[in-house]
């Protein structure tokens, strides 16, 4: 199983995403922002960082990167895509997910281990979790406050597309404590905290994040069967 990890100029957690993919048992394939080629991968991770310096607006330039063209088409067609942090911002800018990530309400960058409650295990990336399971993963962002209009929020709730919420104190002012959402089909997931930084006991906040990466492999195996 091959999982692509996109490197934009300014991507920072691309190596970490690739490590998580490897630890989950898949082969990470590095994808380059300037090449409109997904190299035959079975799923894609858009990693954290500050793509193109996050100048203009987080994710706003990355959205136009050549690699995003085939990626958007493939996502529409069902390719599992996980956007973490900056990757979530890119997915929102690309309109593959609704809403936006804005400046934290307290205006500071915040790096904190946060407790999340999994709300949906019907996505490609969360089948390995139980609904209402609580996990601990690091959050590290300055613009992680999820916002959307009320109708969108209501629709997300009604259709089970809120994937995870902050279970402890809301760390950034996200609406309805939302930490992760998915598209209607469940193949595209955006998450603000970093599951790829919770895959090894020695270096992570926990190992709770690994299931995102093993889930997608199970999902792919199931789809192939």
């Amino acid at each position: 199983m091959k999982v692509g990890v996109v490197t934009f100029p300014g991507s920072l957690d691309d190596g970490d995403a690739a490590r998580a993919v490897r630890l989950a048992g898949a082969e990470p394939v590095r994808l380059w922002h300037a090449e409109p080629d997904l190299r035959g991968v079975d799923a894609v991770v858009l990693p954290g960082g500050f793509s193109y310096g996050d100048y203009l607006r987080c994710g706003a330039i990355a959205r136009f990167a050549p690699v995003m063209e085939p990626l958007a088409d493939a996502a529409e067609a069902g390719l599992p895509v996980l956007g973490i942090c900056n990757g979530f911002q890119v997915l929102c800018e690309a309109h593959l997910l609704p809403g936006a990530l804005t400046r934290n309400a307290h205006l500071h960058f915040r790096n904190r281990d946060v407790r999340l409650r999994i709300e949906s295990n019907h996505t490609a990336w969360t089948t390995g979790y139980d609904v209402d399971q609580e996990i601990v993963v690091p959050l590290k962002s300055g613009e992680g406050r999820y916002v959307a209009d009320q109708a969108t929020l209501d629709e997300l709730e009604a259709t089970g597309r809120v994937v995870a919420r902050y279970a402890g104190p809301n760390p950034n002012g996200s609406m309805r404590d939302i930490a992760a959402i998915s598209n209607a089909a469940g193949n595209v997931v955006g998450i603000m905290p970093h599951p790829e930084h919770a895959v090894e006991a020695l270096t992570g906040a926990s190992t709770d994040g690994l299931s995102f990466f093993t889930s997608v492999l199970k999902h792919l195996a199931g789809a192939a069967a």
């Binding site: 100029p9 920072l12 970490d16 500050f50 310096g53 960058f109 916002v147 609406m175 270096t203």
Partner: protein, 772 residues
């Protein structure tokens, strides 16, 4: 400017107008230094040459006041075959495995951070990262020792948040975890905060780079940002003279950083090194092109012909001396063989980084710089880089030394009973220097790169440097300006001892030292004496501990008016763990574990946090330092750890045992019940005797542990047991403090001082404004 209306000041013109007056004094050069320049050149310098000498002969670049003292670091250094590059290189390089080396260095960016806190601190991080990159290493972690004025001073509320966002804003965007540092408040830093930054890098041994511009015919390539007017005079003006009211008008002398570009620069350089495409490399930092061109040529003993007009400019109206002096960030100088030039440009292009050929290496021994065909510089590069003035500045013991030592804190009124001790503990954990610093450290990314094994508030930051073998390095930075003020020799050794101890109790074997020496004006004989004593103490201490100084940085002129800062040598110690699993965490982790205090506690309160917080007192002599005892402590921790006898360990330093217990309890929320040894409970709780640690040992292993302590001749005291999660901190016969109360006191201080009121309420379910 003397040349206005005259045009370009060329070498030819300098020869024909030997008597033209030049503004050497305004540029910080003394009359005799100017005369020496004329001697070296056999004529007056051109405007560009004068600018170059003024920069390279400044205190910041030439170390002219410190050189005679710093020699001790090499002369007294213990023999080490692990050292691949040492003092004089961009950063020291230590071999940690057959094919793996680690490089680390600390630098100051104090003055810019006062003038413009955000950019000053940001470019401080950027600068030290490029030093590490220039050695061939991938930068992997940052630590930031910071000093600010009084916590309640309104100006601290300007400087601190700016510095912290600057460090985070740059380091986070660069993808480097911040894994440690210090935040200390003291009124002596009021007009002169200290912003030091340490960077650690990792490389395969074969990738070690040199700065020499060797091989005549090779191409000189400038990589990275365009050159602008920012930072002109940064080192000669800001960093090499005392602060005055005009400093605030020197904002243009502070550089502006672009971390995005630096990230691209890192990836570009690493690809070039891997492909073996560069002969030599030097970062551009303070003194910009002037420093990079002259040092690379001087190091190789070659010459260089540079066509300065080829340098990509941000502002086309810049004059040649401005291009040479600019401290624009995110630039590197590469020496490239002609046949590799295309490959270098392709790699740079792939990352969107500009690479420009600006000259060629020659065998003339002259650095010749032309500007649209006219020669504006023609000089021997070593005269800039190596032959700067060296001064043995006058030194004198400070006049208040005797009185200062007589004014001992051991005579101050103390808390009289258990209730008073309880109040004192709560007051101390809430004091600005001892309180929880999460409000700051949460603004730094500590996870990026995925190799952070430990980060603040742990004893030391630990980074895994080899994912296959688990090999890791630990780094701690420490310093105590009050101790150094009381006695610079001892104070510097105490800083070294603390950093060494922190690395040891984190589970690592200490290996090498870097230092950043922050002092007042070298022209003040009392400051110069403090400096000389501190350097002597540090060099002697490193010899005793058997670990070499691999490099560092001197920051003078840290004074506002006549008032110098507390002399503040910051010492960074790097240690190695064969496997990350050997790390020892600081926080109590299992109820029922036995708590031991290691080391000897004496009645040492002078210079202590207690004396400062409760009496505003600074006097007496600092705690005694016994480096051989530090070595024994380090050895017993390592031995016990190897045998699996230790669950946790935490060093004792500022605030003494009371603070160490509070921190060990609060880290994971476990309580503790302890019984202090006989004698004054107050002294046991608040003395700051060096060479101590508090450890917890799994129940049943305590006998094996104390036997080991006896064997290593390390004094030990059984203190008590770790309580349940949520249990209180109880000192038998004295007081009990519920953890929630302790935590509240410890955590509330920083947000109350520095958090801005929320712009919008949290849990905001209302619709965002339509125009958002």
């Amino acid at each position: 400017m003397t040349t206005i209306g005259i045009g370009l000041d060329t070498v030819e013109r300098a020869q024909s107008t030997p008597e033209e007056l030049q503004p050497y004094e305004e540029l910080g050069l003394r009359a005799e230094e100017y005369e020496r320049i004329r001697e070296i050149l056999g004529r007056r310098p051109t405007e560009s040459e004068l600018a170059m000498y003024s920069i390279m002969w400044s205190e910041h670049c030439s170390y002219k006041s410190s050189k005679v003292h710093l020699r001790q670091f090499s002369e007294k250094a213990p023999p080490s075959d692990a050292l691949l590059a040492g003092i004089g290189e961009n950063a020291g390089v230590v071999k940690v495995a057959d094919d793996l080396a680690v490089t680390f260095k600390i630098e100051s960016h104090n003055h810019p951070s006062y003038v413009e806190p955000y950019q000053g601190a940001a470019t401080g991080v950027g600068g030290i990262v490029r030093d590490i990159l220039a050695m061939g290493a991938r930068p992997v972690a940052v630590l930031d020792p910071l000093r600010f004025g009084a916590a309640h001073d309104p100006d601290t509320a300007r400087v601190l948040p700016g510095v912290v966002s600057g460090i985070g804003g740059y380091g986070n965007r660069l993808g480097l975890p911040t894994i440690g540092g210090e935040i200390v408040f003291d009124p002596s830093y009021q007009g002169n905060p200290l912003v030091n930054a340490l960077c650690v890098g990792v490389m395969p041994v074969r990738r070690l780079q040199r700065k020499a511009a060797s091989g005549p015919g090779n191409i000189v390539v400038l990589l990275g940002a365009k050159t602008g007017r920012d930072g002109i005079g940064g080192v000669s003006v800001l960093a090499s003279s005392a602060f005055s009211r005009e400093s605030e008008q020197r904002r243009p002398a502070v550089q502006v950083g672009d971390p995005f570009l630096e990230k691209l620069l890192i990836e570009t350089c690493l690809e070039l090194y891997e492909a073996d495409l560069v002969v030599g490399v030097q970062d551009l930092g303070g003194a910009g092109l002037t420093c990079a061109l002259s040092e690379t040529a001087a190091d190789a003993g070659t010459g260089m012909d540079v066509r300065l007009e080829k340098v990509p400019l941000r502002e086309p109206s810049m004059a040649p001396h401005e291009v040479l002096a600019s401290e624009s960030q995110e630039r590197m100088l590469l020496i490239v063989a002609p046949e590799h030039l295309d490959a270098v440009k392709q790699t740079a292009d792939r990352w969107g980084v500009t690479a420009t050929s600006i000259g060629v290496v020659t065998d003339t021994g002259r650095l010749k710089i032309t500007w649209y065909g006219e020669t504006v510089v023609d000089l021997p590069p070593a005269s800039l880089a190596d032959d700067g003035p060296v001064y043995a500045r006058p030194m004198r013991e400070p006049g208040d030394r005797v009185l200062l030592h007589a004014d001992r804190a051991e005579t101050l009124p103390r808390p009289v009973d258990g209730d008073a001790l309880r109040e004192t503990v709560l007051r101390m954990v809430a004091s600005p220097n001892l309180c929880d610093k999460s409000w700051v450290t949460e603004q730094y990314d500590r996870y990026v790169l995925g190799n952070t094994v430990a980060a603040q508030p742990e004893n030391a930051g630990i980074i895994r440097v080899d994912e296959e073998t688990g090999l890791s390095v630990a780094v701690s930075v420490d310093g105590n300006g009050r101790y150094t003020r009381l006695d610079p020799y001892t104070g510097a050794q105490l800083a070294l001892a603390e950093a060494y101890r922190n690395v040891a109790v984190a589970g690592a074997t200490p290996l090498a030292v870097t230092n950043c020496l922050n002092f007042g004006s070298p022209e003040d004989p009392a400051v110069m004496w403090q400096f000389a004593e501190a350097v002597r103490g540090l060099a002697d201490g490193c010899a005793t501990l058997g670990i070499p100084v691999t490099g560092g940085n001197v920051s003078f002129y840290n004074s506002t008016g006549a008032a110098a800062i507390n002399p503040t040598p910051i010492v960074g110690v790097l240690g190695v763990l064969e496997h990350a699993e050997q790390r020892i965490p600081m926080g109590f982790a299992e109820a029922g574990d036995i708590i031991f205090l290691l080391g000897e506690t004496r009645e040492e309160l002078s210079g202590s946090e207690w004396a400062w917080v409760t009496h505003g007192h600074l006097g007496g002599l600092p705690p005694k330092v016994d480096l051989l005892a530090e070595r024994r402590l380090s050895d017993v921790i390592r031995a016990a750890n190897q045998l699996g006898l230790l669950r946790t360990a935490h060093d004792l330093s500022d605030g003494g045992l009371a603070q160490a217990l509070a921190e060990a309890c609060l880290r994971n929320g476990y309580g503790a019940t302890v019984q202090l040894p006989s004698g004054s409970a107050f002294v046991h709780l608040f003395s700051e005797s060096a060479g101590r640690a508090v450890v917890s040992v799994p129940l049943g292993l305590e006998k094996a542990f104390t036997n080991l302590c006896e064997e290593h001749e390390v004094p030990w005291q059984g203190l008590g047991v770790v309580g349940n999660a949520g249990a209180p901190l109880e000192v038998a016969g004295e007081f009990t403090i519920p953890l929630a109360e302790l935590r509240q006191a410890w955590e509330a201080t920083m947000p109350a001082l520095f958090a801005t009121p929320l712009a919008q309420p949290l849990d905001d379910d209302t619709e965002p404004p339509a125009a958002a």
